[in-house]
Amino acid sequence: MSEYLYVGKSIPRTIETDKVTGRAIYIDDLKRPGMLYGKILYSKYAHAKIKNIDKSKAEKLPGVRAILTGYDIPDVRVGFIKDQTVLKKDVVRQFRDEVAAVAAISPEIAEEALGLIKVEYEVLPTVFDPVEAMKEGAPLVHEVDARGRPLKSNILPLPWKFYAGDIETGRKASAYTVKDSVSTTWVNQCCMGPSGCVAEFDMNNNLTLYDQTNVIHLGKQRIMEYFAQIGLKGKKVRVVNAIVGGSFGTKLDTDIYEFICMQLALKTRKPVKILFSREEEFFALPPRQPAIFDIEQGCDKEGRLTFRKCEALLDNGAYTSWGATTPSVMMMPMSSLYRVPNVSFEATCVYTNNIYCQAMRGYGNPQANFAVETSMDTLAEEAGIDPAEFRLINRNQSGDETPQRLKITSCGLEECINSVKEKLDWDKKKKDKKKARGVGMASLIHVAGGARVYMSDGHGIMIKVDQNGCVDVFESGTDQGQGSPTVISQIVAEALGFKPEDISLTMGDTGLSLWDAGTHASRHTFMAGNAAIRCCEKVKKQILDMAVQYMPKLIKGGFKRKKRKDPDFVQPDLDYSLISNPEDMDIRDRMVFPKSDPDHPYFKMDVREIVRSGLHVGVGDSRVVVAEEFYDPPTEMLDREMKGNLSMTYAFGTTGVEVEVDEETGEVTILKLIAAHDVGKAINPTLLLGQVYGAVYTGVGYGLTEEIKVVNGRVMNPNFRDYKMLTAKDVIPITPVVVEPGDEAGPFGAKGIGEPGLVPTAPAIANAIYDAIGVRITDLPITPEKILTALNDKQ
């Protein structure tokens, strides 16, 4: 019975056939009766006073239904630390500041109306460099905080600090120490589907928001809070997702355009859609948070890490979204990637007049990993130890508790590092070094069993089975393309004893689900899977209770019918005690049977017959099969010292890269890339590889090509021509290695794998480039220009 029927199998994502036939409805495709189109007017300056807004001409344009400015709607602050309003009045602090919004009968008219709105500005002094912004006398981006108290500095009141052990003790124990400075820049999430939503109020001012969020319940909460402040207290909110064209972090916050859309819908009494252009995707959505790190590490003579000290500076931009919280995730690799006893990490976020940032796949981990893994390489060199060996010496192991109090229940890191070594032929490549060729590696740790960043990290699920054997699963998460409808169906089929094709999944609807903290932090398969398994136990018990009650009757009824047709039929003498106790029975592949005799010729019965019998019993005693489960794992919030076991399990992995660098052009070719990941257990190996491949590609872009060029606060490359995302012609020969130690806490042993593939990719490439040409590029992306400059400087 240990053999799984569906878990571990590459079941195709047939559920999503609509996506290959053009039938899937994205926000772009969604139309509501009488729907209007909203457009946003952005600031012309990075920092300016708004002297006057004249919308009279725009209002007269036929087809325009509403024009709103910050002077027309309640002055309510929104966002993570409530440092901005929905539409800006008095002052703009960045180019993407939303100054006015139009609703019109067509997107073209709305666009034309934007051009007719006249805004007079008075330019204010700007600051774009976070180092400059910290200095005394720098122009203040905000004069007051959320409560109206005057601010004296651009430094945010978010002092991210983590300390464990004692750095000086570590320093004294060190035989070797190194210091490095590295930096990472803005990159765009590049969802292929542009952002957008449709807001629709009914006549009682209850809202339905057709959306793309990956936090439907938190999103709803934010909207309810906003409503309470704009006179809509107690009004009902339902958030319903369309098919989502990628997320990668962009849908974690409730963005300003969503609030604007609600305001336009409220004003016009019509459904309103806002849909971003690609240009807006690049300049009006918060990208990945950039960071500057100064990192210092030491090790003893044997190569054991003695301490790690790091200071990070984050350009917060003009307002605060989730980008400012990336240090909370940076602390994880800083404190817990490899065994290091003494750790100090401090991060400072500083307001500037640049674009502000939010989440992107990996959160702060890719940034911090670049710092740690750069330092690991320089320290290995300083100590004269092979970089792979150095990492093996310091590897995390099962049973460890890290300085952040993360409990490492299962850890395949050793196997990951060794797989990379073997598949890259590491030792030989290091020994017989070829000119301009090199190998490098980097590892990662990431949450893989939820992430308790909110008081509830739970996931609620409801499952019903109807008389036709259809299993309806109402789960509380969202799918942004990762394949959860297939994966969760596999888990439910396995746990409940049905077939995957029996399962229908409803996701992304607050009206049809309990609560979920969001499809983020690589947590969905783990959380929804665990909730599903527990819920299936309840459902199964209901079905087996019914089986005990109805199976004997159904079997005996069958005998009677047989006897009527065939008078010679002799009813067999059966031991009905085999099916008298639900605990002695099971369901598998849609059949109910006694555990002691799974292939019993009479006691194996189609589960649908039993459910039907339970429902159609005559007056008063009929039953339906339905259960709900709320799974909130026994993890800890980080305490005041930023310590605590916030996840049930952690993912580990190692990326190894072999590169060739053209020293004439600075071009880097990736000859081989090994992505070895401890995934716990692959529920669906093909879908899992899709997560790894996609993440690695984004990681290669992060390492080599991608950069939002922000000059004096303005995004200079808001298009795919100038922003270099990889194409199909950029062949990255990836060899995936799937390590499956299984984790007790995971659904069928699985860990989360949405983000890990991205995390160590860029540092592995950087380390390989250093091995190839002896120059270390410490600011991402590693462009040919930077390589040539570094090579010139070296000579």
Binding site: P12, R13, T14, E16, T17, K19, V20, T21, G22, R23, A24, I25, Y26, D28, D29, Q189, C190, C191, M192, G193, P194, I243, V244, G245, G246, S247, F248, S277, R278, Q480, G481, Q482, G483, T686, L687, L689, G690, Y693, G694, A695, V696, Y697, T698, N719, F720, R721, M725, L726, T727, A728, K729, V731, I732, I734
Partner: protein, 157 residues
């Protein structure tokens, strides 16, 4: 706004559309014919999400001026399964091999691939990659898409 009347073949059917002269083929497909498969990922011919086949060639429909479509034959993602609903081998292969994640690029990706296989039934990996070089995808890293196109080519052979 001045309108233009264009007659062309759309997924095998003779059709006529009367739309503003400034409309693109993409806008006409989406708004006049309510064929939502082709997507506006950028609107300037860079991302490939709007790819359809015109007279055998994969084109960015967002850049295609509607007057130019007169007399031509257009195939969209909605027109590649059989009339009975049997999926095209490419569609099956994308499902089978996880060539789809968020699905936003998928329609365009499939049309580029179909144009390739119609003209070159036995493509090399490099030819497959070239055929979809103008179709961006953020989810997959292209690998399972390239494999899926190869699988479909095998099936069609």
């Amino acid at each position: 706004m001045k309108k233009v009347s264009v007659s062309f073949t759309l997924n095998g059917d003779p059709v006529t559309a009367e739309v503003p002269v400034t409309w693109s083929l993409l806008k006409t497909l989406r708004e006049y014919f309510e064929l939502n498969g082709a997507k506006k990922g950028c609107g300037v011919g860079e991302c490939g999400a709007c790819t359809v086949i015109v007279d055998g060639d994969a084109v960015s429909s967002c850049l295609y001026p509607i007057p130019e479509i007169e007399g031509r034959s257009v195939t969209t993602i909605e027109g590649i399964a059989s009339a009975e609903g049997e999926l095209h081998p490419l569609q099956k292969a994308f499902i089978e091999n996880n060539g789809v994640q968020c699905g936003y690029c998928t329609s365009g990706m499939l049309m580029s691939a179909k144009s390739l296989l119609d003209q070159n039934p036995d493509p090399t990996e490099d030819e497959i990659r070239t055929s979809i070089a103008g179709n961006f995808c953020r989810c997959t890293g292209y690998i399972q898409i390239v494999e899926a196109i190869g699988m479909a080519a095998e099936t069609i052979k």
